[in-house]
Structures are given as C-alpha cells and as structure tokens.
Amino acid sequence: MHLVPEIGEMGLLGANIEGYGCAGLSNVAYGLICQELERGDSGLRSFVSVQGSLAMHPIRSFGTEAQRLKYLPEMAAGRMIGCFGLTEPDFGSNPGGMLTKAVDDGDSYVLNGAKMWITNGTLAHVAVVWAKLDGEIRGFIVEKGDPGFSAPEMHGKHSLKASVTSELVFQDCRIPKDRILPGVKGLRGPFSCLNNARFGISWGALGAAMACYHSAVEYSKTRIQFDKPIASFQLIQMKLAWMLREITKGQLLALHAGRIKDKGELIPEQVSLAKMNNVDIALQIARTARDIHGANGILDEYPVMRHMANLESVYTYEGTHDIHNLILGRWITGIQAFT
C-alpha cells in the first residue's frame, strides 16, 4: 500500500492508456513493466494490472468524458485506487450467470448482490462493477462510501500475500444515474478488460520465472555437494537449460503478442495462448527452482517458494488454465466445449 503513490509517480498506472494523465506507452512497454514488477512479486503486478487494465481501461473505453476526467488522472497518479467486480461466489468461469442485479429507480440505480476474489477491493476508492440491468450485463462505477456498499477483506491466503483480496457486498446500494458506463453492453465489456490484463500477465509471469531462474543459477553455483558446486552436475544443468529455454520462448510469445497488440491486431485467442503458456511454464519453473534449492527452497530467504505460491493464484485467476484451453479449443474446432 505504501508503494502505491510511488508507483503512480513513476507513471506505471494505466501506462498504456493515452491521455488523462497517463503515460501512453506502447503495449510492449506495458508488458515489460508487468514483467519487472512481477520479478519482485505477483501481488505488486496484480495491483498494477487491476488498476490499469481492469479499472482504468473500462472507464477510458466505455465511460463518458466526465467520468474519464473525474477518475483517470487521479487513478494514474495513484491517489485513487480502483478494483474490478465481475467474479461472484458461485460464478467464476461462468460470469454470464452472475446474480448481481441493478434496478433503474428514478434518478438512481440500485445494486444488489456480491462479488468475490476482488483484488484491491478493500483499498479501492472506486469499483467497476458488472451487474445485470434488465437481464443485460452493464458496467457501473461504485464509489467507496456509497450507501449499501461494503468491501470486507478475505483472510487466510497462502498466495499473493502482498495483495489485498476482498468481497464486494451490495445491499440496496444506491448510485447516481451518471455512474453507468454507457459505452458497452454484455460480456464484451468485462472481457475487453480481461484481455488487456491477461496480456500483461503473460509478461508478468515471466518476471516471476526469471527471479526463480536467477536464484536457482546463483544457488547451484555456490551450493557444494560431493566437493563440487551442484551446478557442475548434468541433471542441474539440464534443469537450468530447460528454464532458460522456456523463458526465452515465453518472451518471444509475449513480445510478438505485444507488437501485434500495438498494431491493433491481437485477437483474444492469442492472449489466451500467451497467458496460459507463460503462467504454466512460470509455475513449472518455480517448482523446478524450488527443487534445485533443495530444502533451502522452502525458506523465505529465497524468493522461489513465494513466487511458486503466488503463481498458483495467477494460474487460476483471469481465466483458469483450463478455460484458456477451451477458448483455444473453440477457435481450433469451431465447437465450444464450456458447457
């Protein structure tokens, strides 16, 4: 939390958004930011993903000019924190089934329902919430302090401990009419946000993988067994070579995705491929790095176990590994296998 103003000052929030106090960087530059933040910790990158891609992006893309001017400059500076409410306790991979509802009530909308697994929820000054209005999914901006809105923190996580995860609860939550995002209807809205965030994750996961790889290289060169550094054993070298190979392939995938995203040609299936692959290999690399570190690998003196535990969340959030396979499967065969 104490890092947020500094991150804002560096211009990392909504960095690939043009105007409204944002840096207007390319998507490749945004990806590199995600990579370097997640080299530190997935929780830090999650914060930046949610703020930029999930909260600022929909306001920029689907909001009114007045909404953009009110929220984006403050959010870019890190003075206002945002969150994104889509997932519900019983609707994760199937967001279209959401129960959260908005009702038109004269000069306001009234929201009822609950969201879960919401990064930044408790910290957030502003929540972009997806709810059904007359059976159709719409985006709403809910502010901290709106009557009937609360965001209790979820406890007991073994993963992403540097990030706050919350529930969002709406009990007859009344918001003014001008808080609806007029620019989008249906699942296209939240999916557009998720595609941006997933692209960042495909870079970010590699940052965590690189931290694990570097730690494993250093450890294996200094850990002596049988009178030799363990780096001199072929089995260790094979593992290190495999890590480097997968990181390099993942980077090429992310870089290519970034370049075609900059041209506006990146399709969601390509984002699924990159997110799925890079998080998967990052998790495997973290586990292999833990193995190379031996018993020391479980200690917090080394970053590997922390990255490994974080990546378990990253593997599941923003579209589970399985769902991304099904997105790709649908693209390959033309047959959807979700249901």
């Binding site: 000052e9 560096m10 211009g11 960095a15 106090g21 840096a23």
Partner: protein, 264 residues
C-alpha cells in the same frame, strides 16, 4: 523567466579510471556515463521552480558529443523543456574558460535569466566553469548553496558557512547559482515524462553558430594547458605490529615512528 541548467556527463562514480598510453586523457572505452550528481541537484531546483510556476521553462545546456544526448534526454524526461548541446567537435581542446564561453553563449541564445549548475563536476573537480560563466555574462554568482528561494526577481540562497552556521545571501536575477548536496532530492523520470521528452528536439550548435570565434574556444582559446595525467602512486602496504603485550606493541610502534617513518 527561463532557467538554464548546466549539465555535464561524467564517468559513473564507481568507474575504475585508466590513463591512456600518451597520458593526455583517460581511457573512455567501456566507461558508463552518468549525469554529474551536483548537476542533478541544479536540475531538480530548476524543475521545482517550474512546478511552482516561477520558471516558464528549463533549458538544459551542455557541451558534449552525441553520446551526451542520453543524459540530456534524461533531463528532458524529468521535466526540462528545451536543450542545447554545444557540439564537442567545435570546441575540442577547450579548457574551462573555453567551455564557459560556449555555455555562456548558449545561455544567451536560449534567453535564460537564471543559471543553475552543480558546485563542481565529480570528474575533474575544477569547480571553475559556473564562476566563469557568471563573469562572462556579467552576472552575480552565489556558489555552493544548500537552500534556494526565488521570489519575483529576488533570490535568497543559503550557504553552509561551517561550524553549524548558515550564511544567507541575497541577490537578484540574472544570476548564476551553484548547488550543493542537501539542496533537494532529485526526482526520477516517470513514464509520462519519458514519452513527452521524445517529442522535444535537442538543439545541436557549434561554437560558430553561437557567434564564438575560433580563437575563443578549443586549444587556441585555452589559457590553461594540461601537461599530463598521472594516477596517484600506489599506496604502500601497511604493517601490523606484532607483540606479546600492549606495552611491547607500543614500544615497537614508537621505535618505528622514530627510526623508520622518522616523524618523531
């Protein structure tokens, strides 16, 4: 009021310096360059004046080859609004005076009314150029300041007078101020600044473009000639005095100071 900042690139402070074989300069290959840290204080002071609405623009002024552009670009990314680089090739062989003439001419061309500079550059430590620039422009100079306020045209600067005393000096624009540690904490460039700086051109000018004659800069205009460079002699190895008791060690130390070091 536009503020000019004199900026010099210097070898990174952890560089291991090597002298070239003909002892005319240092080996520059492989050196990592950075902005002179005292100049960063000057830049930050100028940017703070801009942020406070007291400066209309911040002009980076430097003498260097194209490889100095990275440092100038960094200053622009932090918030400087213009930059003039006097091309090294047009002033090559200059002493501090030649450099000062080039910078003073560039400052005049840029129309600045206040010049901020580092108190010295950490490579040669001459601390000569800002004072010469002030003299050439006929402006007052306040050196080595640790506090600075500018109000209207009035300048109040604090100098560390030693012994815990602060000397307060007042002057008015136009003036040259050199900056010391403690004045401020330089900011980093942020992403927005980096993007914005890409659109700002770095004006490259030769000494002739600035109206300087061949005799005023370069070796022809130099009053100081550098006769050679030497590394300091290697430090003689130290000696640890052995002895059974402290008394014996002290006795041996006194004997060595008297007979070997001949200092007592």
């Amino acid at each position: 009021m536009k503020v000019g900042v004199l900026l010099k690139q210097v070898p990174a402070s952890d560089t291991i310096i090597k002298i070239n074989p003909d002892k005319t300069g240092i080996v520059t290959a492989g050196i990592k360059w950075e902005t002179n840290p005292y100049d960063e204080l000057a830049l930050e002071a100028a940017l703070q004046l801009k942020d406070a609405g007291k400066a209309t623009g911040v002009v980076v002024l430097t003498v260097g080859a194209a490889d100095a552009d990275a440092r100038v670009r960094d200053a622009l990314s932090r918030g400087a609004t213009e930059a003039i680089r006097v091309d090294e090739a047009s002033v090559v062989g200059s002493d501090s005076l030649g450099t000062a003439r080039a910078l003073a001419a560039a400052a005049k061309a840029a129309g600045v009314e206040l010049i901020l500079a580092g108190k010295q550059a950490i490579d040669t430590d001459s601390a000569a150029v800002p004072a010469m620039v002030a003299e050439l422009l006929g402006w007052p100079q306040v050196s080595v300041v640790t506090g600075l306020t500018v109000d209207g045209g009035k300048i109040t600067a604090e100098r560390n007078a030693g012994g815990g005393f602060i000397e307060v000096v007042s002057t008015s624009v136009p003036a040259v101020i050199t900056c010391d540690k403690g004045l401020n904490t330089p900011r980093f460039a942020n992403m927005k600044g980096i993007m914005a700086a890409k659109k700002i051109p770095i004006e490259v000018k030769s000494a002739a473009d600035l109206g300087l004659s061949a005799g005023q800069v370069g070796a022809a205009g130099a009053l100081v000639e550098e006769s050679g460079l030497e590394l300091p002699p290697p430090r003689p190895s130290s000696k640890i005095i052995q002895g059974a008791t402290p008394e014996a060690k002290v006795k041996e130390l006194v004997r060595l100071l008297r007979d070997e070091a001949k200092v007592i």
